[in-house]
């Protein structure tokens, strides 16, 4: 597909907004598999930046997301009303599109798209996997709900222990004493057992009925199994009621004293586990936005996470290449002392004593990180797997380019512009397959 600017796509979509709706209704009724380009456009605009226009879950924005966007080609879906290992029903998919998945980047499209458009997307998304052509998913038989009561919660607690839920979710769902790390999904991504005390992050919903369904049908593609064969329906309802009862207050419902107590106990936990805190900081501070080279769509180049190599032309100073933050001993931070890293991060002073500009590296902002958070960042950076990617030294602009840029800045009164280049300027080069994309 030729690169069409997304805004144009959007406008075109608005103009023909009714068309996909009509086609969708037609499709839903006739079961025809015609690929009208309007639905494709709707999908590309609304879903493509994360799930990719090819449905493989690797759109331009996917790399930084946790959890990762669904790969539609595998037909493996997490949140279903169907038996473990099965495909989801149309209504399951519709629900995820309509309400989104809480705690993730998957937004609810209710109010943004019409029902017919969302139905059309269900049809479109299913076409990525051949499984839908041969399998007919149907919901697990509805079990009689057990309403919550102190007795049910007690039974749920007992079942939580006998089913060993705590092995991943920790004692009383707090994550304490659980296998902290090492969990992986079928796509090889590291995953975490959610804290059951924070139901606002439950992807599939926070009601007892939602939790019951997760226990009954499992979460395909993840270590969360189905307990359909190992526990009775009533016990699963008891566990669901117990899990719902574990909810703690979120900060937006707390009093000032509770908020302070919450943050100080959170800081204490973070001090005990600096790598986790550092990971969270490095991800949210968008370090990878510059320290991972990207292709022209802004998609991270594979295998070069945090390996630096993104070239930027600072109009005045010349070309600089973002440093390699991985733990490599020769080309990365492996040769840096902790103090060197912190000094660069918070004072803009490089190891050789030379100084950084206040942009693009945001050290004047990072200077306000607490010492504990600075240590956490260093601790996490030390765990990044080494990638050999030697970064070239800065290159000055030519005489006239330098004078011209400085004239604009000092006489024209402009802040200095920065040109960000695609591709990896480090010694590792562009990974095969992405080089073409980088130059496109």
């Amino acid at each position: 597909m030729p690169p069409v600017p997304s805004g144009l796509r959007w406008m075109a979509f608005c103009v023909v907004g009714l068309l996909p709706a009509a086609v969708a209704v037609g499709l839903a009724q006739s079961g025809a598999a015609a690929p009208p380009t309007d639905i494709q456009r709707l999908y590309d605009t609304s879903c493509g930046s994360c799930h990719g226009t090819d449905g493989r879950g690797h759109g331009p924005a996917a790399d930084a997301l946790n959890p990762k966007p669904r790969d539609f080609t595998r037909g493996t879906y997490k949140f279903r009303s169907t038996a473990s290992g099965s495909l989801p029903t149309d209504d399951d998919l519709y629900r995820s599109i309509e309400n989104g998945l809480p705690g993730t980047s998957m937004l609810g499209f209710k109010g943004i798209l019409s029902e017919a458009q969302m139905r059309a997307l269900v049809v479109y998304v299913k076409r990525f996997s051949p499984r839908f052509a041969t399998e007919q998913p149907s919901p697990v038989p509805a079990a009689r709900p057990v309403s919550t009561s102190p007795d049910s919660i007690d039974k749920g607690r007992a079942a939580y222990e006998s089913l060993a839920c705590g092995a991943c979710h920790g004692e009383a769902g707090t994550g304490a004493d659980a296998v902290a790390g090492g969990l992986q999904d079928d796509w090889g991504n590291e995953v975490y057992a959610p804290h059951l005390t924070e139901p606002w992050t439950f992807r599939g919903g926070r009601t007892a009925a939602d939790v019951y369904l997760r226990l009954k049908t499992g979460i395909n593609g993840t270590p969360m199994p189905s307990f359909a064969d190992t526990a009775k329906d009533d016990d699963l309802w008891h566990v669901a009621n117990y899990v719902v009862s574990l909810a703690r207050k979120p900060v937006w419902e707390m009093t000032a004293d509770e908020i302070r107590a919450h943050y100080s106990s959170q800081a204490k936990r973070e001090a005990e586990n600096p790598v986790e805190r550092g990971r969270s900081l490095v991800n949210t501070m968008a370090c990878g936005h510059c320290h991972t080279p990207a292709d022209r769509e802004g998609r991270a180049l594979p295998g070069l996470n945090f390996a630096g190599g993104m070239r930027m032309r600072l109009q005045v100073w010349g070309d600089v290449v973002t440093p390699n933050l991985t733990s490599d001993n020769e080309t990365g931070l492996g040769r840096y002392a902790d103090e060197d890293i912190k000094r660069a991060l918070t004072r803009g002073i490089k190891r050789d004593g030379s100084r950084m500009l206040p942009l693009p590296m945001g050290w004047p902002a990072y200077a306000h990180l607490t010492p504990q958070d600075q240590d956490a960042i260093v601790a996490y950076l030390r765990t990044l797997p080494p990638v050999k990617n030697q970064i070239p030294p800065p290159a000055r602009l030519g005489f006239f380019a330098y004078l011209g840029a400085k004239f604009q800045m000092l006489i024209g009164g402009r802040d200095y512009p920065i040109i960000v280049f695609a591709g990896n300027a480090g010694s590792a080069g562009n990974p095969s397959g992405s080089a073409a994309a980088a130059q496109r």
Partner: protein
Amino acid sequence: MKRIVKWVALVVVVLAIAGFTGFLYVVPPLTSTDPREFINLEASMAPAVDGIADPAVRALAERGRYVLLTTDCTGCHVTPGPQGPLPNMYLAGGRRFTTNMHGAVVARNLTPDRETGLGQRSDEDIKRVLRSGVYPDGRPIPHSAMPWAQFSNWSDEDLHAVVVYLRHIRPIRHEIPPPAPGVAETLVPGAIEIVEGINAGKQ
């Protein structure tokens, strides 16, 4: 006589050009070079939360301020001036980005101003931008300009705290032009985007 005047004038002009060029070459591009100045400016721009009456809201805003400050939101959302950001325009936006795939986008005004800022946006609208990179009307936001994909890793509680803080900064009237989609013809070959040094907003 006339000839001498001509020669003198020529020499003066040549000297002036040479002197100006030399001056331009030698003068440092930033008038300030003390790291502490940049660091203090960063913190002084972000208003303290002392003025917030409700203690619970104040405690949340304090957390939001820490997250916002240390995430370097001002790296983009401040109004560019001759020597870096204008200190009295905290989060008022205006920096223009010309991107390869998505035309020109301008850093938005994040202050609570009702007409030009976030004053009329709901909490959910703001959170949807930071979590999913989608405007209230469904338009996607190019992640190569605005790293929403990274910010999506904030916990729901930190996300909420950020929104609370944004509600309590000083409203500034600063109109930001809408994104101009289209393929940028001026883009340097091989570039993903140009972070421009000009303010595209109107006060």
